[in-house]
């Protein structure tokens, strides 16, 4: 076993422990953010250096070190970097607990990196819980009524979802006798179709897995927690949840469903159909309920449900696709990357604005175009990207994923998705309209710190780059998805 391949994860763990201990022994708390960021940079550097190589799996085949895992590790490290940058002001709201905050963010990132890399049911469960438990605590960090309530809801629903997921895993383990994804696939493929059909245990297990993972990616009907948690949680954590936690869920779904249940064809057609149905319901419900929302965090919560729907179009395409067609998978990866930049950007702008306003209501954003033109411009760009209009990244992402769906005969789903995109334009553009055309309540400028501005700038550059010259990023996504070609 080659421990060198595990260095990014080890770095994060060590840095998290150091941050906790440093917090106990030093007075200058601003060092904590710097230590955390340096840890992320080291881990990111090592991860990037590993890109493209073909390495053996480590820890008795528990963790794969392939391009897919490395792609997601880079994504998670980047998101965590932006989250910590954007938290540097926000932590003044809980200044006594800064060390714990940064350490928990790092540990959640560690959990997500493991989620993207694991190829074993046991390890998937542990990585998922490491992520979830860190996030439960982070959601309640403000310690006011709303935040603790959000945290309690997230904990109770999340624990039930993970119990359901676990039951599904137990059934799959019982049916195949294996926990290694590759071995499960071998057992399933070696059985005659009639045996598979006659044993509902496996199918029930797969359905329960969909339910458990559906909670993580916030798909309807497992979305009840999303708006409440998004509204109550500290805003950087809301951003983190909406982007990284969702991406981690999709990483696990892609790997599990492709490596374990990719063949025989009728099985993948079946779960492809399930995802297609979930996608249609998710986008419709998310977009329609988002329209009347008055709180922008809550609106973006519903919008993230809708975005999960668009992403699941890619999963459905993957289920319907023939063996060598990886458009669906690479579409999901590219969409996740562009969604990460877009939503992080939107939330960072919201953090900067609500730091001044102390309010998340859309009507209070009135006249932001005059009070803080740059922030308003960045938020507008991100919202345009969420609609899926050029030149922003969201356009290319949607284009790519819908193209994959059409090629695999899912025209009806794409029609629903396009109608939904049009509906969604209404509530996104409403925010834009309020910001630029509304009357400003006061002429006071909205200040923002250097770290926030840097994070916002990075996001906007990312959104524009992926939107205007997407070729390189698409190539990366294809290379990462290549492990799924049979």
């Amino acid at each position: 076993m080659n421990l060198a391949l595990f260095i990014p994860e080890i770095t994060l763990l060590v840095i998290a422990a150091i941050v906790i201990l440093l917090d106990l022994f030093i007075e200058q708390k601003r060092w904590l953010a710097q230590v955390s960021i340096s840890g992320l940079v080291i881990a990111g550097g090592v991860t990037i250096a590993m890109w493209g190589g073909s390495y053996p799996a480590i820890f008795n085949n528990m963790l794969a070190v392939d391009n897919f895992a490395i792609f997601f590790k880079m994504l998670f490290l980047g998101i965590a970097f932006l989250v910590i940058l954007s938290s540097t002001d926000y932590v003044s709201k809980f200044s006594k607990f800064q060390g714990e905050y940064y350490a928990l963010v790092l540990l959640a990132t560690l959990g997500m990196m493991l989620m993207a890399a694991t190829t074993n049911l046991i390890a998937i469960y542990i990585a998922l819980e490491l992520t979830s438990i860190s996030l439960y605590a982070l959601v309640g960090f403000l310690k006011d009524k709303k935040s603790t309530e959000a945290s309690l809801k997230y904990l109770l629903l999340g624990a039930v979802a993970s119990a359901v997921l676990l039951y599904g895993m137990a059934l799959i383990f019982g049916f195949t006798g294996k926990t290694q994804l590759g071995e499960i696939a071998q057992v399933i493929q070696s059985l005659p179709p009639m045996t598979l059909l006659a044993s509902p245990g496996l199918l029930l297990g797969i359905v329960l897995l969909v339910a458990g993972f559906g909670f993580k990616i916030a798909a309807v009907p497992f979305q009840m927690w999303v708006p409440d948690v998004y509204e109550g949680a500290p805003t950087p954590i809301t951003a983190y949840l909406s982007v990284a936690s969702k991406a981690a869920g999709f990483a696990v779904i892609l790997r599990v469903f492709f490596s374990a249940f990719g063949l025989p064809v009728w099985l993948s057609l079946n779960w492809g159909l399930i995802f297609a149905a979930l996608a249609a319901i998710s986008m419709t419900v998310g977009n329609i309920i988002a329209i009347p929302q008055a709180n922008i965090k809550r609106m973006l919560g519903y919008s993230s449900i809708a975005q999960a729907g668009y992403l699941m179009v890619g999963l459905a395409a993957m289920g319907m696709a023939s063996a060598e067609n990886i458009l669906g998978q690479s579409g999901v990866l590219f969409f996740l990357a562009s969604y990460a930049f877009t939503n992080m950007g939107a939330f960072i702008a919201i953090i900067a604005i609500s730091n001044k306003l102390n309010s998340d209501l859309i009507e209070d954003y009135s006249g932001m175009g005059k009070r803080a033109p740059l922030l308003a411009l960045a938020l507008t760009l991100c919202l345009i990207s969420l609609i899926g209009m050029p030149p922003a990244a969201g356009f290319m992402a949607k284009f790519y994923i819908f193209n994959a769906a059409i090629q695999n005969g899912l025209l009806w789903l794409v029609i629903i998705a396009v109608i939904n995109s049009v509906v969604s334009a209404y509530y996104y553009l409403r925010v834009v309209k309020v910001m630029w055309l509304g009357e400003a309540a006061s002429a006071e400028k909205v200040p923002s710190s250097g770290a926030l501005r840097l994070a916002l700038l990075l996001c906007c550059i990312g959104v524009l780059l992926l939107g205007v010259i997407p070729g390189y990023a698409i190539r990366l996504a294809q290379l990462a998805a290549n492990i799924f070609a049979y």
């Binding site: 763990l13 422990a17 906790i20 201990l21 106990l24 022994f25 059909l197 199918l203 009728w266 057609l269 079946n270």
Partner: protein, 123 residues
């Protein structure tokens, strides 16, 4: 393929009917006077062994017990892993020893944290 979903639909109908049945039975029995209904104070009193409770049964505990329970829990969970390792110590070799040391070190960070946060002091 679709017939399989049909079976699931049948199961669903059966489940709904069964649940409705279970809910309706006691109501129906009560309605038909098969189940007697004559409450009295002794029957309604809380059934517990020993003395009757004075005040609410949900007594508040001192907050500090929770921290102690938490600290114990960390040790408890550590032992879950230590025990299988200790039983098979010779066969597992040096690598597992290192792994266990790392595990203990992680738990130790938690204890240092609790210590510095003055959780172990009983006021």
């Amino acid at each position: 393929m679709l017939t399989n979903y049909g079976y699931i639909g049948l199961f669903l109908i059966a489940v709904v009917l069964f649940t409705l049945f279970m809910v309706i039975i006691p109501i129906a029995l009560r309605f038909l006077k098969i189940v007697p209904h004559n409450p009295n104070p002794i029957k309604n009193s809380t059934f517990e062994c020993g003395m009757e409770t004075i005040g609410r049964t949900w007594v508040q505990f001192n907050f500090h017990y929770y921290f102690y329970a938490l600290i114990f829990l960390a040790l408890d969970v550590l032992v879950v892993f230590l025990y299988p390792w200790a039983v098979n110590l010779r066969a597992l070799g040096f690598a597992s020893f290192v792994a266990v040391i790392i595990l203990v070190a992680i738990i130790l960070v938690g204890y240092v944290y609790a210590w510095k946060k003055k959780v172990l002091e009983w006021k």
